[in-house]
């Protein structure tokens, strides 16, 4: 018997979806088999290496941003500019929430798009921009590729980041 993780009803072995609540019972991520244009993150990190000839000369994490970042919300076409920090936590604000995200995505229908309250964080370190999933329920994708939670992933200008189902394109202006 397979116990449905969602509604705890027993399903017959071999069932692919729960007959009670319709939840998917098998692990599958077909998107990983999609043609995935490899982002030129390798190139970017090598640039960074070149940019730091001497160890210790690395731009301090707390320094001011030397890149400006904007988010282009794919569905609504709106552009959001990020400024004033080196790290931005994305999520949505709900009542009685102890930790608030830096960027509240509620105005962009975050709830129905499956964005968690603390979903992902975007970091800027020198020339590098990185995204980390904060253990969200519906996951974070970079160019359609699901990323592992709590690990930094480099992102580049033009990459599409998906929080749950909310899609935005990241625009980096060096």
């Amino acid at each position: 018997m397979i116990i449905c993780p969602n509604c705890h009803v027993e399903n017959l072995p071999g069932a692919l979806f729960c007959s009670e609540c319709g939840a998917q019972l098998i692990a599958s991520d077909y998107r990983t088999t999609q043609a995935f244009k490899r982002s030129p993150s390798d190139t970017l990190s090598s640039n960074v290496l070149q940019a730091e000839p001497v160890a210790g000369d690395r731009p301090p994490m707390t320094g001011t941003m030397d890149v400006s970042i904007s988010l282009h919300l794919v569905d609504s076409g709106q552009i959001m500019h990020l400024a004033g920090r080196n790290e931005f936590a994305f999520g949505r604000v709900t009542e009685g929430q102890p930790i608030l995200p830096d960027v509240d995505l509620s105005p962009y229908e975050a709830y129905s798009q499956g964005v968690s309250r603390l979903h992902a964080s975007l970091k800027v370190a020198g020339q590098r921009v990185m995204i980390m999933d904060l253990g969200s329920s519906n996951g974070t994708r970079v160019n359609g590729q699901k990323i592992v939670p709590h690990v930094d992933y480099p992102v580049n200008h033009g990459d599409i980041i998906t929080l749950g189902k909310l899609k935005f394109q990241i625009l980096i202006n060096h």
């Binding site: 017959l12 072995p13 071999g14 692919l16 979806f17 098998i26 129905s112």
Partner: protein, 489 residues
């Protein structure tokens, strides 16, 4: 006529000796004078005996085959593929489920010059309830769309209320001139007695040439029929035997979708739910377009399932979406050029005996008729067999199966809620509708999710589905399966 012996037995020219014997025994059992005393049956019985005598002897068959012109010996251009949710079946004494996706595709190129004309009969409800918007929809679209048929197709129009009238007798499409005026003169009045209309429609189609590409009856109605359901089913069976298929268009919220689904499934047809003039235009033009590109008609799937197994559910994913009756043979409608037929089966395996190495799920044949060819029968035999092992690796089932099931599960959730409402299990029905709404929301289908939630509330108050919401949910969840074509790789 050349090749008739093959046609009598319903065989292709390259049939094997075993197939010939089997076909003869099947036909003989049906037509033997002891079983079937009718005069026509006796004549047919003599014909198949004569055919068998020739074809069963290799020498006689060789001579007979030489009399058939080479042009009649066209190899089949259809193929099928079968995918099972597990490549290796785990050896288990406890019950398990398997999913099987059967795809039948036409691999050939269409040759329009060889395609015989089709015969189409529109059977239109003119009962009082059709008055106003609904009849206007029909008037606005029908006359115009009929003209998209091929010039030598035969079209007829029957209108019915409590009696039926032939409005347009079978006419070649190119000879239609006053069709607009005729359709526009339609007026309403009377009750809905479907049998009347269907009976006249079928009798008109029976007069069309037997080798028509498609003989199809398209029913347009908005109501219930009372008391003549059994007659309608019988008529549909007779019609299906004569290669006449039926499709139904339901208008508004009052029509009896359950009855019509059952009626048209006898010939492998499907029903659609028309809510606007645009719907009618889309559905009707799709339906008429599909007629012109048929490769094989009267396709059916004869499957002998392993007796230890049970088909729990069958659904056709292409070309028309519809649940299909679990029986053998399963009628599947027609196979079009460039658009295959896909059927998904849910198979229940009760227990696999210890020491089993291989499990045969089922054997069978896909049978069909090829209206454009002299030897007009085709078949594709298959045997679904998978190895069994005590230890199996985790595997991801074929994407097409998962994709189709992800949506079919939603359709089945509403089907289940429907049964529960009938049994008075309101709490369960509401719960299942809520689950359905959650999935629809997750997919971003907010409008349908909203309809489902409203319906769940309605059920809690009145203990039954509202007539409109009922159909919106059924046809809405069914339509989810349309994109992107499952089974297409």
């Amino acid at each position: 006529m050349a090749g008739d012996f093959y046609n009598f037995l319903g065989l292709p020219f390259d049939a094997s000796a075993d197939e010939i014997r089997q076909a003869y025994f099947d036909a003989a059992r049906r037509l033997h004078p002891d079983a079937n005393p009718q005069q026509e049956a006796r004549e047919e019985f003599l014909r198949i005996q004569q055919a068998y005598e020739t074809l069963s002897s290799p020498e006689k068959r060789k001579i007979y085959d030489r009399s058939i012109p080479e042009s009649a010996k066209v190899p089949l251009t259809a193929a099928m593929s079968i995918r099972v949710s597990r490549s290796v079946i785990p050896l288990m004494q406890e019950p398990q489920l398997l999913y099987t996706l059967i795809d039948i595709n036409c691999t050939g190129e269409m040759d329009p010059s060889r395609m015989p004309p089709s015969a189409i009969c529109l059977v239109i409800d003119r009962s009082t309830s059709m008055r106003g918007e609904r009849l206007e929809m029909v008037k606005a679209n029908v006359a115009q769309l009929i003209k998209t048929l091929k010039p030598n197709d035969l079209i007829s129009v029957v209108v019915f209320s409590d009696r039926a009238d032939v409005m347009v007798p079978p006419t070649l499409v190119r000879d239609l001139d006053k069709i607009h005026a005729i359709i526009n003169s339609l007026d309403t009045g009377g009750a809905t007695e479907m049998y009347q209309g269907l009976e006249v429609g079928v009798s008109l189609l029976l007069r069309s040439p037997e080798n028509s590409l498609v003989r199809q009856l398209i029913l347009m109605t908005d109501g219930h029929t009372y008391g003549d359901e059994e007659d309608c089913f019988r008529l549909a069976k007779t019609a299906a035997e004569a290669n006449i298929s039926m499709a139904a268009f339901g208008f508004g919220s009052e029509w009896n979708d359950g009855f019509l689904d059952q009626l048209v499934s006898i010939s492998g047809g499907s029903t659609v739910f028309v809510t606007s003039s645009k719907d009618l235009q889309n559905f009707l033009s799709q339906r008429l377009q599909a007629i012109g590109v048929v490769y094989a008609s009267a396709v059916n799937l004869a499957i002998a399932i392993n007796p230890a197994l049970e088909i729990r559910y069958a659904f056709r994913l292409r070309p028309d979406l519809s649940p299909i009756p679990v029986e053998s043979p399963i009628p599947l409608g027609s196979l079009q050029y460039g658009k295959g037929i896909s059927v998904l089966l849910e198979i229940y395996v009760k227990s696999i005996p210890v020491n089993t190495r291989e499990l045969q799920l089922g054997t069978g044949r896909v049978n069909f008729k090829l209206p454009s060819q002299t030897i007009s029968h085709g078949r594709l035999p298959f045997n679904i067999c998978r190895p069994v092992a005590p230890e199996v690796e985790r595997e991801i089932p074929p994407a097409a199966i998962v994709e189709a099931l992800s949506k079919l599960t939603l359709y089945r959730l509403q089907e289940r809620a429907r049964v529960e409402v009938e049994n008075g299990e309101i709490a369960n029905a509401t719960k299942h509708l809520h689950h359905l709404a959650t999935h629809l929301l997750a997919r971003g289908d907010r409008e349908l999710a909203h309809t489902v939630l409203v319906e769940a509330e309605h059920i809690q108050q009145s203990r039954r589905f509202s007539k409109d919401g009922d159909k919106r949910i059924k046809y809405g969840t069914k339509a989810l399966l349309l994109l992107p074509g499952p089974g297409v790789e």
